[in-house]
Symmetry: C2
Subunit: 381 residues, 2 copies
Amino acid sequence: MENTYIENASLSSSSREQYAPWIALSLVAGLGNTMLCQLLLLLKSPEAILAASYAELRDTVSKDVAERIQRAMEHADIAKALDWLEQPDNHLITLADLHYPRRLLETDQPPPLLYAKGNLQILKRPAMAIVGSRHATAQGETTAENFAESLCRAGLAVVSGLALGIDGAAHRGALKADGATIAVVGTGLDIVYPAKHKALAHQIAQHGLLLSEYALGTPSINYNFPRRNRIISGLSEGCLVVEANVDSGSLITAKLAIEQGREVFAIPGSIHSPVSKGCHALIKQGAKLVESTDDILSELRHIRLPNASLADSPNGLIPNWTNLPSEASPVLACMGFDPIFAEQIAARSGLTPGEVSTMLTLLELEGLVSHLANGQFQRLA
Amino acid sequence: MENTYIENASLSSSSREQYAPWIALSLVAGLGNTMLCQLLLLLKSPEAILAASYAELRDTVSKDVAERIQRAMEHADIAKALDWLEQPDNHLITLADLHYPRRLLETDQPPPLLYAKGNLQILKRPAMAIVGSRHATAQGETTAENFAESLCRAGLAVVSGLALGIDGAAHRGALKADGATIAVVGTGLDIVYPAKHKALAHQIAQHGLLLSEYALGTPSINYNFPRRNRIISGLSEGCLVVEANVDSGSLITAKLAIEQGREVFAIPGSIHSPVSKGCHALIKQGAKLVESTDDILSELRHIRLPNASLADSPNGLIPNWTNLPSEASPVLACMGFDPIFAEQIAARSGLTPGEVSTMLTLLELEGLVSHLANGQFQRLA
């Protein structure tokens, strides 16, 4: 894939001079990605845009924007961004960098400048977006976490949006594997939103990668989040929706993924659950119904996965329980597939609470049962 | 649709002479539907087959079968079947009858003789098969019952196999509406299998219709059940699978439905539930994912439904609860979408057990909550 925006794209050095023009242009109010990309296609470099005559600029942009471009290098926040860049693990990625993500470059209007914090190597991996409701069920979060861990072990990077619910669970799952997760956020990278995910964001910066197209200091603004979604899908080979309401932002991401030619995957659930309705709508529209990571990996056969063969990937979602001690089966039989309290299992099975507790611990260790946050247990296989 | 097997098909009278040849041929050991249909195409009537020369018969069938056909009218069970026919509500339907089900006639090798008990008028209705696991969950049975009731009210007949689990629930749901349900059984009609469904079979005989291609006295034989499934799908415009394991007989019915050019519908569920795996496999293969009866009815727009418009059909599955009193919402909010005991709701909501009980009764009356057989409550919307 050639970079049509910049001729002779090169590996970036960390020199302040190299980045200042990109930062300056990204800070020009009213100069969106579309117009900046157009100017780059015309004038070939940010330096050339900054040096262009007013008349040249006016061919593409409005009077106000043209004037602001000519004064762009005076912006006080340029120095602030360059100072941020000098801190460890902070990076800027411009359209001129060879390690600008290839998949994102293929999309319409790729963001010309990305702020990044963490391990840039992760951008070399093929990636899968995992998104879903902020108001997910406990089961949905467990599912997102398991899928993310399993896909990560299979050699993919997991991309999501650091939101509460499914997004956070996806990042946590990838962190349980080797941490190859990318959080694309809708604020400046010096701000963590939501605040609840401060520790998670810190972990991602250490082991994974935080990405933003927004200038430092940009607060959480509602309309930035849907825009951010096109980067999530743009970075990825496909997009897995775990739980989503019919009016969920996740469906925007799925729609963008389809427009970008990405495969959309969705996990089904009960027809009585509102957070499955978005997934069901996607499946009706042609998204692939997904029960296990194999359903995703089989669609990605054309992609070379870097550090793991499919055979190595533990299918943590569908464990084999035929080898379990026979004492476990009455407990499993009493559980059904809905969350249940240990007391209910004891009442149903006739076992003592102690016996049930021992067996649940064993089953949890074997990955057959999950202990939910509300104290209930959920059978997983 | 012309009847290619019989020229001048006529409304049946109940004369013993008319049915004896059909019964006689159906009792010939080794003469399957395929060969009997071939003989009918060649010789045009059962009387002609019985009067055919040995040489004529040998063109189509083996030595033994030819000899048995020539002695067919001597079979003692012919009188037994004719005596059965004289009892109220018992009927025989032959390929020569004008009310032989049209959809079944279009299939390969339609059964030449059907034993029927109940209301033959139901055969005039467009029908939908509802099938699924014998080992269904309580939720699955409720779903089957609700869909059957709703489709029946929309003017369809509900066809199933009288088995435990989903089949029985489908029949029960249709009986809650106007009873337009057809149970296609794998035994002789004088035998009820499974014995647990004796009362249900009796109700179906009173309000719906029992059908069998097997001679009276035929016990439950395993290999007859998959054969019976082709009649279930053959009678129907489409086939809805509610819950099914991957190795379920329901998938055989779905496969036959596809071969017969029928639409297949499947209800999704948790990826952790074994009884949803069959449905998910069908959806992956192209079956339509179904969340409500509207998803089915919208595919059947080309069919004229006899006694109800779609607008009349109460969508009992997705009730609108925005108009409920505000007192109900804390109870609903505490319930989640998994089955739960009233005591748990009280503990979660802080309401008294009495308040919870009142609210649950109200919600049940509104169709928003279902009271399960095990005493738990299930939120439905």
